[in-house]
């Protein structure tokens, strides 16, 4: 179980204590990797982005303000880094690639059929997310997959609440359409 991140620990890390910083890395690298993977759908890219996010955190930790949650700050860094990646040439080339989510941890206590169906639905959700515009994808990932509040999402993206709502509406609409289309092709009732 990772140690709790206290303001004192953050201060220690900001003073250059790498042991204190290692505790922060061990505590938060999991969620940073998850967010990065949800954006880029690639293990290696997600690891590279995670590493870059923590290097940026290390360089800028001295400017950290305690009134902002460290996780919110990390969400901001990783989201910006992922949006940069998606707007880069390499990111755009990957746009049409179908994501592979083989390393997903499946929920336990499910029958194999239910597990398969759940995996299929999850893959569909991620594929739908890949078809969204970068802003819609960012809002969808932060609000619906990461579970951030509307205010936190607005803060992380530096986007007015009205724009967050608008992007969320379009994102949800596209995800619903993607699920409906898939089930229509398979001639099965939607959900």
């Amino acid at each position: 179980m990772p140690e709790t991140i206290t303001p004192e620990l953050i201060q220690e890390a900001a003073r250059g204590n790498s042991r204190a910083f290692r505790v922060i890395v061990e505590t938060h690298q999991g969620f940073v990797y998850t967010v990065a993977h949800r954006f880029v759908s690639d293990e290696q890219e997600a690891e590279d982005i995670t590493q870059d996010v923590f290097v940026r955190l290390w360089k800028n930790l001295g400017r950290y303000r305690h009134e902002v949650k460290l996780t919110t700050w990390l969400h901001k860094i990783v989201t910006n880094r992922c949006l940069d990646f998606l707007s880069s040439r390499h990111g755009r080339q990957r746009k049409n690639r179908v994501g592979v989510h083989a390393e997903m941890i499946l929920m336990g206590s499910l029958t194999p059929e239910a597990e398969l169906q759940q995996q299929e639905l999850t893959t569909l959700v991620h594929q739908a997310a890949e078809e969204l515009t970068p802003k819609q994808r960012a809002v969808f990932i932060l609000r619906d997959l990461e579970g951030l509040s509307a205010e936190e999402t607005s803060q992380v993206l530096g986007m007015p609440p009205g724009n967050v709502k608008s992007n969320l509406f379009h994102a949800r609409q596209k995800v619903l359409e993607r699920l409906k289309r898939n089930y229509h092709i398979k001639k099965e009732p939607f959900l």
Binding site: G16, S18, F21, R22, V25, E26, Q29, G30, F31, Y33, T34, H37, R38, E43, A46, E47, T50, Q51, F54, V55, W58, K59, H101, E103, M104, I105, L106, M107, Q118, L121, T122, L124, V125, H126, D144, L145, E146, G147, A150, K165, L168, F169, R172, Q173, V175, L176, L179, K180, F190, L191
Partner: protein, 173 residues
């Protein structure tokens, strides 16, 4: 009955209680909106399930090590005063300004008329070294006097010579 507001159905969980009540009232009377709300709620369940399945790094320990290695190398390079100095924005701007200044000087120098090297040579201390030996000069002058004498003897040669000397306003003694 209020008009269909599709956006409010998709953003049902974002609405205030009063707005939710308004949607509920509308949905109770509108079949298409009711169906849409059911689909939106079903999708939300699917997305929630997808949210619980978190991708994780294959080897978390290795990832931590690579992050710490990157951080350590970053901090050692930032401790180097030369690297740190070049990291300063003002220094970078200053270097850029100096480079542009040198470039402008070079272009201006190229545009200016070129002076003959001989002119520079006679302005400098190397003038004595660049002159021919004294004996050679005397010999040249002697040769020229002989040529002039020979020319003065010939009518076909002396007339143009005299004309050219007059045009240069040189006193002939």
């Amino acid at each position: 009955m209020t008009d269909c507001n599709v956006q409010n159905i998709y953003l049902y969980d974002e609405l205030t209680d009063a707005e939710k009540q308004s949607v509920d009232d509308h949905v109770a009377a509108c079949k298409s909106c009711r169906q849409l709300l059911e689909q939106v709620n079903a999708t939300r369940l699917v997305v929630r399930t997808a949210a619980q399945q978190k991708p994780e790094p294959r080897n978390a320990t290795r990832l931590t090590s690579s992050i710490m290695t990157a951080v350590t190398s970053e901090s050692s390079s930032s401790r180097n005063p030369i690297v740190r100095a070049f990291d300063q924005v003002y220094l970078r701007y200053g270097m850029a300004a100096v480079s542009i200044g040198l470039l402008v000087l070079f272009v201006v120098e190229q545009q200016m008329p070129t002076r003959h090297p001989v002119e520079r040579l006679y302005q400098g201390k190397t003038v004595a070294l660049a002159m021919p030996p004294l004996g050679h000069v005397v010999q040249q002058r002697k040769q020229r006097s002989i040529s002039l004498y020979a020319c003065a003897q010939s009518a076909s040669c002396n007339q143009p010579l005299i004309a050219s000397i007059k045009s240069k306003r040189v006193t002939w003694k």
